[in-house]
């Protein structure tokens, strides 16, 4: 049973009827992929490419036009399969009058957490999302970053096997995004399968084991992150203390073996790394 993929999608297609004339709009076009258990899977693509629709189909929120899928071994998004799945939708909105703790407790009860375990499960989820202190405040007073974090807490309060995060860092500053990245890492360490839709490619690159890229409803690439990013036709050598004479000698030596130096650059750190190094502490 555990060898089965967390999510398997086969020839999935979804058409929407739009406008009075019911013009057909194909949101997902014959998509096939599989997400192994215990991995972090990045589902990438521009806005409107069909990522969220694919996830909604898998979660049983939208029916597919054709194709099939399995969710945690079930041939449909049954209540049993959904009870083992956590979901954070894009730009989540929660009842503003509830406190964060009340919201997470409410979601725990809906997710089937037994009454005697609700408080401890709520505490754990709030701690994971770093929302223990803010849990006493009303959701209406939360910043965007806090909304995302409380959304993450409600998604994991029932300790699901699979966590689906749709744009968890949308509208969140780099510090908050890094915090969410750490939470994803913590969930991976607990053996969860995580599906991550995000536009933060740097973060996806850091946390994901596999990625799939969608464009205009079609899957254009899928594979292990190391495999899809590696350029097999080029190599990079980092050298310290390279003098002009040493560089000329190295280029000559390489040329003798039929290789050609195409560029010599100083290594760069990413902007995200620089930002995170200079700006510390959460603004939440």
């Amino acid at each position: 049973m555990t060898d089965l993929p967390a999510i398997s999608v086969t020839d999935l297609t979804k058409d929407f009827r739009v406008g009075i004339r019911g013009v057909k709009l194909r949101a997902v076009d014959n998509v096939t992929f599989s997400i192994p258990r215990g991995q972090v899977f990045g589902l990438l693509g521009p806005n409107g490419c069909g990522k969220s629709t694919t996830l909604k189909i898998v979660l049983g929120l939208v029916p597919a036009t054709s194709g099939s899928f399995t969710l945690l071994g079930s041939a449909a998004a049954t209540p049993e399969a959904r009870a083992r799945t956590g979901f954070l939708p894009e730009a989540p909105y929660f009842h503003r009058f509830l406190t964060g703790r009340e919201l997470v407790r409410y979601c725990a009860r809906l997710s089937g957490v037994p009454a005697e375990r609700v408080e401890s499960a709520t505490d754990d989820a709030l701690a994971l999302a770093d929302m223990t202190e803010a849990g006493a405040r009303r959701v209406g007073t939360y910043s965007k970053g806090m909304l995302q974090r409380i959304g993450l807490a409600q998604a994991v309060v029932h300790d699901p096997e699979l966590v689906v995060l749709d744009e968890p860092t949308a509208g969140v500053d780099p510090v908050g995004s890094a915090a969410i990245g750490r939470m994803i890492g913590a969930m991976r360490a607990r053996g969860k399968t995580i599906v991550l839709c995000s536009h933060l490619l740097g973060q996806v690159e850091q946390v994901c084991d596999r990625v799939a890229i969608m464009d205009r409803g079609r899957l254009v690439l899928e594979g292990r992150i190391d495999d899809v990013l590696a350029r097999r036709d080029a190599h990079q050598i980092s050298v310290e203390g390279l003098t002009p004479a040493a560089r000329a000698a190295a280029e000559e030596a390489l040329a003798r073996h039929g290789a050609r130096v195409t560029s010599v650059e100083h290594p760069r750190q990413t902007l995200e790394d620089l930002f995170r190094r200079l700006v510390t502490g959460s603004r939440d």
Partner: protein
């Protein structure tokens, strides 16, 4: 399953209590009911208590109906538009459970609305009863009496009636795509329910073409007779005029209507794309 439905109902109830529209209609209905006091001298030839009861029950009927159409539609579309429905329905919550939770939360609010207005009408009637009775005795007339049990029965019937209206609004909401459409079509369904007695009367007469009679028969089966629940004035001021078993049969009919309408609403909502 019941736990999940009751939790959704609880949150819906708390959310509905915070709706300004509810406060607005409650104040309006209470003002309308209290406004009957200074106007009681122009009772159009009816007894004063009858006039007061008619205005109070009228306010409950009118504003309660508006609330019963708008509130469930507003709460349902708020969940869908704000995407909280996505969060909830991705959990092991059935669509039927979600809709029943929304209904029960709304119905509980309608119960509060009915209770407050009934209490207000009861206070007005009981407060005016001694003066009206003394005046009647001075004129050697039979003094009117306010039957509080009848008032409670009327409150129950109105609550059931508003429940049917709310369930109809949810049924339309489960099928429709916009809040406005739901409110308009829901209001028309309520109006049809208020007027269906005309079709029942016409069907009871032996004349008419077979096609017309078939149309009337379908109409009477399709829409609940909501007008039948408006028996507040006889229940409260002249209980002996209400045939025995009337209230019980109305309660049974309401429960049957609620069950059928909610089943249809759940079936329609299962097919909806969130």
């Amino acid at each position: 399953m019941l736990t999940r439905i009751l939790w959704i109902a609880r949150i819906t109830f708390l959310e509905a209590l915070r709706q300004r529209f509810l406060a607005f209609l409650l104040v309006l209905a209470a003002g309308f009911t209290l406004g009957s006091l200074p106007l009681r001298s122009i009772d159009f030839g009816h007894g004063e208590l009858k006039f007061l009861a008619d205005l109070g029950f009228g306010a409950l009927l009118l504003f309660g109906s508006v609330l019963a159409v708008v509130l469930p539609a507003q709460l349902l579309y708020a969940e869908i538009d704000n995407r909280t429905a996505l969060t909830l329905l991705a959990k092991p919550v059935g669509r039927g459970e979600f809709l029943l939770g929304k209904f029960l939360g709304t119905w509980a609010v309608l119960g509060v609305f009915t209770g407050v207005l009934t209490l207000l009408v009861g206070l007005i009637l009981v407060g005016r009863e001694p003066m009206v009775a003394a005046r009647a005795l001075s004129l050697q007339l039979t003094p009117p009496e306010v039957d509080l049990w009848g008032l409670c029965q009327h409150a129950l019937l109105q609550w059931l009636r508003l429940g049917i209206v709310a369930a109809l609004a949810l049924l339309v909401g489960a099928l429709a795509q916009t809040f406005l459409y739901t409110v308009v079509v829901g209001s028309m369904a309520v109006l049809a329910g208020q007027l269906v007695w005309i079709a029942q009367d016409a069907l009871a007469r032996p004349d008419g073409s077979p096609l017309g009679r078939a149309g009337l028969w379908v109409t009477t089966r399709l829409f609940p007779n909501l007008q039948g629940y408006n028996i507040g004035e006889p229940l409260v001021l002249d209980p002996s005029s209400v045939p025995e078993g009337t209230v019980l049969s109305l309660v049974v009919a309401a429960i049957a209507y609620l069950a059928v309408i909610l089943l249809l609403a759940c079936a329609a909502f299962r097919r909806r794309e969130i």
